[in-house]
Protein backbone atom coordinates (compact mmCIF):
# COMPACT_ATOMS: atom_id res chain seq x y z
CA UNK A 1 0.00 0.00 0.00
CA UNK A 2 1.87 3.06 -1.29
CA UNK A 3 -0.35 5.49 0.66
CA UNK A 4 0.83 3.88 3.92
CA UNK A 5 4.48 4.56 3.13
CA UNK A 6 3.73 8.16 2.08
CA UNK A 7 1.70 8.99 5.20
CA UNK A 8 4.21 7.25 7.50
CA UNK A 9 7.03 9.34 6.02
CA UNK A 10 5.08 12.61 5.99
CA UNK A 11 3.93 12.13 9.58
CA UNK A 12 7.44 11.24 10.77
CA UNK A 13 8.79 14.45 9.21
CA UNK A 14 6.02 16.74 10.48
CA UNK A 15 6.07 15.17 13.95
CA UNK A 16 9.80 15.78 14.24
CA UNK A 17 9.55 19.37 12.96
CA UNK A 18 6.58 20.28 15.18
CA UNK A 19 8.52 19.16 18.25
CA UNK A 20 11.96 20.49 17.22
CA UNK A 21 11.05 23.96 15.96
CA UNK A 22 10.15 25.37 19.39
CA UNK A 23 13.45 24.13 20.82
CA UNK A 24 15.45 25.61 17.96
CA UNK A 25 13.67 28.88 17.29
CA UNK A 26 11.09 29.75 19.91
CA UNK A 27 13.12 28.78 22.96
CA UNK A 28 12.82 31.71 25.35
CA UNK A 29 9.97 33.38 23.41
CA UNK A 30 6.26 33.10 24.06
CA UNK A 31 3.34 32.40 21.71
CA UNK A 32 0.60 35.03 21.76
CA UNK A 33 -2.22 34.31 24.27
CA UNK A 34 -4.74 34.14 21.38
CA UNK A 35 -2.68 31.45 19.64
CA UNK A 36 -2.45 29.45 22.86
CA UNK A 37 -6.24 29.61 23.35
CA UNK A 38 -6.90 28.66 19.71
CA UNK A 39 -4.63 25.60 19.92
CA UNK A 40 -6.29 24.51 23.14
CA UNK A 41 -9.62 24.17 21.30
CA UNK A 42 -8.33 22.11 18.34
CA UNK A 43 -8.11 18.48 19.56
CA UNK A 44 -11.65 17.85 20.91
CA UNK A 45 -13.63 19.17 17.88
CA UNK A 46 -11.27 17.34 15.49
CA UNK A 47 -11.77 14.05 17.36
CA UNK A 48 -15.55 14.61 17.45
CA UNK A 49 -15.60 15.42 13.73
CA UNK A 50 -13.95 12.04 13.14
CA UNK A 51 -16.12 10.17 15.60
CA UNK A 52 -19.61 11.44 14.66
CA UNK A 53 -19.62 10.16 11.04
CA UNK A 54 -18.11 6.88 12.23
CA UNK A 55 -20.92 6.31 14.73
CA UNK A 56 -23.85 7.82 12.84
CA UNK A 57 -23.30 6.89 9.19
CA UNK A 58 -23.09 3.65 7.29
CA UNK A 59 -22.10 3.37 3.61
CA UNK A 60 -22.20 7.15 3.24
CA UNK A 61 -25.73 7.61 4.65
CA UNK A 62 -27.09 8.62 8.06
CA UNK A 63 -28.08 5.57 10.13
CA UNK A 64 -29.52 5.98 13.63
CA UNK A 65 -31.49 2.75 13.40
CA UNK A 66 -31.10 -0.24 15.76
CA UNK A 67 -29.15 -1.98 13.01
CA UNK A 68 -26.22 0.41 13.60
CA UNK A 69 -24.15 -1.60 16.11
CA UNK A 70 -21.46 1.10 16.44
CA UNK A 71 -23.98 3.62 17.75
CA UNK A 72 -25.40 1.31 20.42
CA UNK A 73 -21.95 0.19 21.53
CA UNK A 74 -20.76 3.81 21.67
CA UNK A 75 -23.42 4.92 24.19
CA UNK A 76 -22.26 2.68 27.08
CA UNK A 77 -18.63 3.17 25.97
CA UNK A 78 -19.03 6.90 26.64
CA UNK A 79 -20.25 6.05 30.13
CA UNK A 80 -17.30 3.71 30.74
CA UNK A 81 -14.88 6.39 29.53
CA UNK A 82 -16.54 9.02 31.73
CA UNK A 83 -16.49 6.83 34.85
CA UNK A 84 -13.07 5.22 34.39
CA UNK A 85 -11.11 7.95 32.54
CA UNK A 86 -9.16 4.97 31.19
CA UNK A 87 -8.46 4.59 27.48
CA UNK A 88 -7.59 0.91 27.56
CA UNK A 89 -10.66 -0.04 29.60
CA UNK A 90 -12.92 1.94 27.24
CA UNK A 91 -11.43 0.27 24.15
CA UNK A 92 -11.61 -3.18 25.74
CA UNK A 93 -15.24 -2.65 26.79
CA UNK A 94 -16.31 -1.39 23.36
CA UNK A 95 -14.54 -4.17 21.46
CA UNK A 96 -15.94 -6.87 23.77
CA UNK A 97 -19.50 -5.47 23.64
CA UNK A 98 -19.44 -5.23 19.83
CA UNK A 99 -18.12 -8.80 19.57
CA UNK A 100 -20.88 -9.97 21.92
CA UNK A 101 -23.56 -8.09 19.96
CA UNK A 102 -22.42 -9.62 16.68
CA UNK A 103 -22.39 -13.05 18.27
CA UNK A 104 -25.91 -12.70 19.67
CA UNK A 105 -27.46 -10.73 16.79
CA UNK A 106 -26.13 -12.19 13.53
Amino acid sequence: MQDALIIALLMAISNALIRMIPVGILSGRKLTPTMLIWLKYVPVPVLCAMLAPDLLTENGALNIHFSNCYLWVAVPSFLVAYKSKNMFLTVLFGVALLALLRLLVP
Binding site: L39, P43, P45, T57, F88, V91
Partner: protein
Protein backbone atom coordinates in the same frame (compact mmCIF):
# COMPACT_ATOMS: atom_id res chain seq x y z
CA UNK B 1 10.84 27.45 34.09
CA UNK B 2 14.44 27.24 35.31
CA UNK B 3 15.53 24.44 37.59
CA UNK B 4 18.73 23.08 39.06
CA UNK B 5 20.51 20.61 36.78
CA UNK B 6 21.50 17.35 38.44
CA UNK B 7 25.07 16.10 38.06
CA UNK B 8 25.73 13.34 35.54
CA UNK B 9 26.67 10.91 38.34
CA UNK B 10 24.00 11.97 40.83
CA UNK B 11 23.26 8.77 42.82
CA UNK B 12 19.57 9.70 43.05
CA UNK B 13 19.17 8.90 39.36
CA UNK B 14 19.55 5.22 38.45
CA UNK B 15 18.50 3.04 35.51
CA UNK B 16 15.95 1.03 37.59
CA UNK B 17 14.39 4.30 38.78
CA UNK B 18 14.12 5.56 35.19
CA UNK B 19 12.53 2.26 34.11
CA UNK B 20 10.03 2.46 36.95
CA UNK B 21 9.15 6.05 36.01
CA UNK B 22 8.43 5.02 32.43
CA UNK B 23 6.49 1.87 33.35
CA UNK B 24 2.99 3.44 33.59
CA UNK B 25 3.46 5.04 30.16
CA UNK B 26 4.73 1.77 28.67
CA UNK B 27 1.70 -0.06 30.12
CA UNK B 28 -0.64 2.53 28.59
CA UNK B 29 1.05 2.57 25.17
CA UNK B 30 1.38 -1.18 24.52
CA UNK B 31 -2.34 -2.10 24.22
CA UNK B 32 -3.26 1.06 22.30
CA UNK B 33 -0.42 0.52 19.81
CA UNK B 34 -1.48 -3.12 19.54
CA UNK B 35 -5.04 -2.18 18.53
CA UNK B 36 -3.78 0.46 16.09
CA UNK B 37 -1.36 -2.16 14.70
CA UNK B 38 -4.33 -4.41 13.97
CA UNK B 39 -5.93 -1.54 12.04
CA UNK B 40 -2.66 -1.01 10.12
CA UNK B 41 -2.55 -4.71 9.28
CA UNK B 42 -6.13 -4.56 8.00
CA UNK B 43 -5.09 -1.69 5.73
CA UNK B 44 -2.37 -3.95 4.28
CA UNK B 45 0.61 -2.02 5.67
CA UNK B 46 3.84 -3.98 5.19
CA UNK B 47 5.93 -4.73 8.29
CA UNK B 48 8.42 -2.05 7.19
CA UNK B 49 5.60 0.50 6.82
CA UNK B 50 4.26 -0.40 10.27
CA UNK B 51 7.69 0.00 11.88
CA UNK B 52 8.09 3.37 10.15
CA UNK B 53 4.54 4.43 11.04
CA UNK B 54 4.82 3.57 14.74
CA UNK B 55 8.55 4.24 15.27
CA UNK B 56 8.51 7.51 13.34
CA UNK B 57 5.46 9.10 14.95
CA UNK B 58 4.80 8.86 18.65
CA UNK B 59 1.31 10.38 18.52
CA UNK B 60 -1.71 8.13 19.16
CA UNK B 61 -4.48 10.61 18.27
CA UNK B 62 -2.98 11.65 14.94
CA UNK B 63 -2.08 8.09 14.02
CA UNK B 64 -5.54 6.74 14.79
CA UNK B 65 -7.03 9.59 12.73
CA UNK B 66 -4.64 8.80 9.87
CA UNK B 67 -5.57 5.10 9.95
CA UNK B 68 -9.26 5.90 10.03
CA UNK B 69 -8.96 8.32 7.10
CA UNK B 70 -6.92 5.80 5.11
CA UNK B 71 -9.68 3.29 5.80
CA UNK B 72 -12.16 5.82 4.42
CA UNK B 73 -10.11 6.00 1.22
CA UNK B 74 -8.73 9.52 1.67
CA UNK B 75 -5.37 10.47 0.17
CA UNK B 76 -2.18 11.10 2.23
CA UNK B 77 -2.17 14.77 1.16
CA UNK B 78 -5.65 15.19 2.69
CA UNK B 79 -4.71 13.32 5.86
CA UNK B 80 -1.37 15.02 6.49
CA UNK B 81 -2.64 18.57 7.28
CA UNK B 82 -5.18 17.12 9.74
CA UNK B 83 -2.46 15.23 11.61
CA UNK B 84 -0.34 18.40 11.72
CA UNK B 85 -3.21 20.36 13.29
CA UNK B 86 -3.93 17.58 15.79
CA UNK B 87 -0.23 17.47 16.72
CA UNK B 88 0.21 21.22 17.10
CA UNK B 89 -0.12 20.79 20.86
CA UNK B 90 3.36 19.21 20.84
CA UNK B 91 4.63 22.56 19.63
CA UNK B 92 3.31 24.09 22.83
CA UNK B 93 4.69 21.31 25.01
CA UNK B 94 8.17 21.57 23.49
CA UNK B 95 8.02 25.34 23.97
CA UNK B 96 7.12 24.89 27.62
CA UNK B 97 9.91 22.39 28.33
CA UNK B 98 12.64 24.07 26.28
CA UNK B 99 13.72 26.66 28.89
CA UNK B 100 14.44 23.93 31.46
CA UNK B 101 16.76 22.23 29.00
CA UNK B 102 18.92 25.30 28.40
CA UNK B 103 21.62 23.62 30.52
CA UNK B 104 21.91 20.82 27.94
CA UNK B 105 23.85 21.03 24.64
CA UNK B 106 21.60 21.96 21.70
CA UNK B 107 21.78 18.55 19.90
CA UNK B 108 20.50 16.85 23.06
CA UNK B 109 17.64 19.37 23.32
CA UNK B 110 16.60 18.62 19.73
CA UNK B 111 16.79 14.89 20.42
CA UNK B 112 14.73 15.28 23.59
CA UNK B 113 12.00 17.18 21.73
CA UNK B 114 11.38 14.18 19.43
CA UNK B 115 10.03 12.27 22.44
CA UNK B 116 7.50 14.87 23.62
CA UNK B 117 4.08 13.25 24.02
CA UNK B 118 1.16 14.10 26.30
CA UNK B 119 2.26 11.58 28.92
CA UNK B 120 6.01 12.27 28.76
CA UNK B 121 5.31 16.01 28.84
CA UNK B 122 3.30 15.54 32.04
CA UNK B 123 6.08 13.47 33.60
CA UNK B 124 8.94 15.79 32.65
CA UNK B 125 7.12 19.06 33.32
CA UNK B 126 6.50 17.84 36.85
CA UNK B 127 10.11 16.69 37.33
CA UNK B 128 11.73 19.77 35.73
CA UNK B 129 9.97 22.16 38.12
CA UNK B 130 12.42 21.17 40.87
CA UNK B 131 15.36 19.54 39.11
CA UNK B 132 16.52 18.61 35.62
CA UNK B 133 17.85 15.01 35.78
CA UNK B 134 20.98 14.01 33.83
CA UNK B 135 20.31 13.51 30.10
CA UNK B 136 20.94 9.74 30.17
CA UNK B 137 18.23 9.33 32.82
CA UNK B 138 15.71 11.38 30.83
CA UNK B 139 16.46 9.43 27.65
CA UNK B 140 16.01 6.06 29.37
CA UNK B 141 12.53 7.28 30.39
CA UNK B 142 11.83 8.51 26.85
CA UNK B 143 13.08 5.52 24.89
CA UNK B 144 11.03 2.89 26.75
CA UNK B 145 7.61 4.24 25.60
CA UNK B 146 8.91 4.48 22.01
CA UNK B 147 9.99 0.83 22.14
CA UNK B 148 6.59 -0.13 23.62
CA UNK B 149 4.74 1.89 20.98
CA UNK B 150 6.67 0.38 18.06
CA UNK B 151 6.63 -3.24 19.28
CA UNK B 152 2.96 -2.94 20.29
CA UNK B 153 2.12 -1.69 16.80
CA UNK B 154 4.12 -4.39 15.04
CA UNK B 155 2.67 -7.18 17.22
CA UNK B 156 -0.82 -5.83 16.54
CA UNK B 157 -0.04 -5.83 12.84
CA UNK B 158 1.10 -9.48 13.00
CA UNK B 159 -1.89 -10.52 15.11
CA UNK B 160 -4.26 -8.68 12.78
CA UNK B 161 -2.94 -10.63 9.82
CA UNK B 162 -3.41 -13.93 11.68
CA UNK B 163 -7.04 -13.15 12.48
CA UNK B 164 -9.03 -13.58 9.28
CA UNK B 165 -12.24 -11.79 10.27
CA UNK B 166 -11.43 -9.23 12.94
CA UNK B 167 -14.98 -7.84 12.71
CA UNK B 168 -16.14 -10.99 14.46
CA UNK B 169 -14.00 -10.06 17.46
CA UNK B 170 -15.10 -6.41 17.46
CA UNK B 171 -11.55 -5.12 16.86
CA UNK B 172 -12.90 -2.64 14.29
CA UNK B 173 -14.29 -0.68 17.24
CA UNK B 174 -10.79 -0.16 18.74
CA UNK B 175 -10.19 3.19 17.04
CA UNK B 176 -13.69 4.64 17.67
CA UNK B 177 -13.31 3.39 21.26
CA UNK B 178 -10.00 5.22 21.57
CA UNK B 179 -11.58 8.40 20.15
CA UNK B 180 -14.39 8.15 22.70
CA UNK B 181 -11.91 7.83 25.58
CA UNK B 182 -9.72 10.69 24.28
CA UNK B 183 -12.72 12.98 23.80
CA UNK B 184 -14.17 12.27 27.24
CA UNK B 185 -10.80 12.72 28.94
CA UNK B 186 -10.19 16.07 27.24
CA UNK B 187 -13.59 17.65 27.93
CA UNK B 188 -12.95 19.85 30.97
CA UNK B 189 -15.93 22.21 30.92
CA UNK B 190 -19.24 23.04 29.23
CA UNK B 191 -17.57 25.17 26.56
CA UNK B 192 -15.34 22.28 25.49
CA UNK B 193 -18.36 19.97 25.50
CA UNK B 194 -20.30 22.43 23.30
CA UNK B 195 -17.39 22.75 20.89
CA UNK B 196 -17.11 18.95 20.74
CA UNK B 197 -20.79 18.70 19.83
CA UNK B 198 -20.38 21.48 17.25
CA UNK B 199 -17.29 19.73 15.83
CA UNK B 200 -19.20 16.46 15.59
CA UNK B 201 -22.17 18.15 13.89
CA UNK B 202 -19.98 19.95 11.34
CA UNK B 203 -18.00 16.75 10.73
CA UNK B 204 -21.18 14.74 10.25
CA UNK B 205 -22.84 17.25 7.91
CA UNK B 206 -19.73 17.75 5.78
CA UNK B 207 -19.04 14.00 5.66
CA UNK B 208 -22.42 13.60 3.94
CA UNK B 209 -21.59 16.37 1.44
CA UNK B 210 -19.11 16.69 -1.45
CA UNK B 211 -16.76 18.41 1.05
CA UNK B 212 -16.18 15.08 2.81
CA UNK B 213 -12.39 15.30 2.49
CA UNK B 214 -12.33 18.66 4.25
CA UNK B 215 -14.78 17.84 7.05
CA UNK B 216 -12.23 17.43 9.85
CA UNK B 217 -9.99 20.34 8.85
CA UNK B 218 -12.95 22.76 8.51
CA UNK B 219 -14.48 21.49 11.74
CA UNK B 220 -11.21 21.94 13.67
CA UNK B 221 -10.56 25.46 12.35
CA UNK B 222 -14.16 26.66 12.82
CA UNK B 223 -14.54 25.24 16.34
CA UNK B 224 -11.13 26.45 17.56
CA UNK B 225 -11.96 29.92 16.24
CA UNK B 226 -15.41 29.89 17.89
CA UNK B 227 -13.85 28.72 21.17
CA UNK B 228 -11.23 31.47 21.03
CA UNK B 229 -13.90 34.08 20.29
CA UNK B 230 -16.05 32.86 23.20
CA UNK B 231 -13.12 32.95 25.61
CA UNK B 232 -12.08 36.42 24.44
CA UNK B 233 -15.67 37.71 24.82
CA UNK B 234 -15.83 36.34 28.35
CA UNK B 235 -12.56 37.96 29.45
CA UNK B 236 -13.49 41.39 28.03
Amino acid sequence: MTARAAKLTDPNFTVPRALMASLPIVAAYLPVAFTLGIAAGQLHFSIFESILFFGGSLSGSAQSIALQMLRNGLSPMTIWPITIIVNLRYFLMSSALAPSLSVWPKPLRYLFSLFVTDELFALHASQFRTEVPPPWYVFVINVMPLIAWTTGGVFGHLAGNLVEDTRLFGFDFAVPGMFIALVVMQIEDKRMLGLGVLGGAIGLLLSLSPLKSWAILISGIVCASVGTWMEKCKTR
